[in-house]
Assembly symmetry: D2
Homo-oligomer: 143 residues x 4
């Protein structure tokens, strides 16, 4: 997908469906997190590497727009990119597709905090560098 | 809360927490739904009344901003109001508070669809009237 | 219910249903936990009181038998009793009913552990006493 | 694993952890379902094939014993086998391992029902045959 260099795949679990017969809208929020974790695994040693330094990334905003419904056992692709790193804060943008069809798009905002105090702290340099490298590769891919 | 006439209470379940030691951000999305359901119970005969007519309300957008963290077993109040009914579409706005502290605010957008086809259809008149009555009462309360 | 002196009520959330149109079977497991937490709130100062002493109660076994299905927005009553405290270990038994109808019964087993090591440790005397008091009241009620 | 010919892998999602810092015990129940769905995909055309005939498989019993804790982002293997098909009823048995370590074992019982009435109905012959073929292959593997 143009402007994105990373994606991960999810299959709609039965437990993620609801009585409307479709994937529950909160399931998408979990899939965005699955994509962030997979992104950090790929580019930055994993979210656990961040936790191992006594840090957590809090989610400060979630925004999802649903363009279609998804059904049990369907295979979805979640595209994710990390944008707008500034101090303690960063943002991800997402596209969720089934084949060629856009099912949802979204963004999440985050703040790096110390685990012991939940106080914001600047993103570690190594993480910022890893994200920059990942996303600059993405930009050149997309151009 | 000014501008809101309806609220419902939730207590953070252990299953809703995560390894950050706080309520997982996707749990809030479920609480917004709990509030919508309670709102419809109060003002419009319940969501099941809508389903009984072969209709569903799809969620087409979720936007939550987190201003604080919530912990296991805390009591939260979810304020909700229905705004902007137009054709098949309507929107809810929310404030989630713990005591006097704003923990999160949000909005969700919805479309009334026929259950058999998932095609949008105008909101039934009785539902529109029930929401208008509820919210005009709210406005006068708030003024 | 005979032999039980404690119950708590849950309403089936939409997010807890699945594409079978009923409450997902894993939702029941969460309701058992909701009942345990409410039980400890009532009789023993809350689960948080246990956590505040550096302890956690791990779940070591879950067994649920489903006798009926539950639907969205239904009101269920979860009866719970704590039985078989022995050293670090204890067990709960449950009945979930809708009106007079038994929807599910179950049991869960638990071990008290230190939070820093996850090593089992004897249940604190005050907690054991609180549970004994609660359940002996129950036995006399039931007889 | 001896006696099992099928397994599927899951990675512990952050949303599946709880404030004990480990995978919540209800998450395991969902993983058993993921394994059943993957099993049916492999051997019997998928659970959707069953649903397409107007049938559902209700879960009538869940029993999980937890032998260890699982942490965020860990890779687990869920072994599953279908045993004891009789009329409308069948059962699965499971082992969940991390590397060589047994984390949990369990069983689930199920009943085939018609979707319109939730009345039990004999398992379709093709499904019974597919399961028998899968499991007899397993037995010979294990011997």
């Amino acid at each position: 997908m143009e402007g994105f260099s990373f994606s991960t795949d999810v299959t709609v679990r039965f437990a993620e469906t609801d009585a409307q017969g479709i994937a529950h809208h909160a399931s998408f929020v979990v899939w965005l997190e699955v994509a962030r974790v997979a992104y950090l695994d790929r580019f930055a040693g994993g979210y656990q590497a961040i936790r191992d330094q006594g840090l957590e990334a809090l989610t400060t905003e979630v925004h999802v727009r649903y363009h279609g419904v998804a059904y049990f056992d369907e295979h979805l692709r979640v595209w994710a990119r990390c944008v707008g790193v500034r101090g303690a804060r960063f943002r991800y943008e997402y596209r969720i597709i089934r084949g060629e069809e856009l099912i949802a798009d979204g963004l999440t905002s985050h703040a790096v905090v110390r685990r012991d105090s939940y106080r914001p702290t600047r993103m570690p340099g190594w993480l910022n560098a890893a994200i920059s490298a990942a996303e600059s590769a993405s930009s050149s891919t997309a151009s």
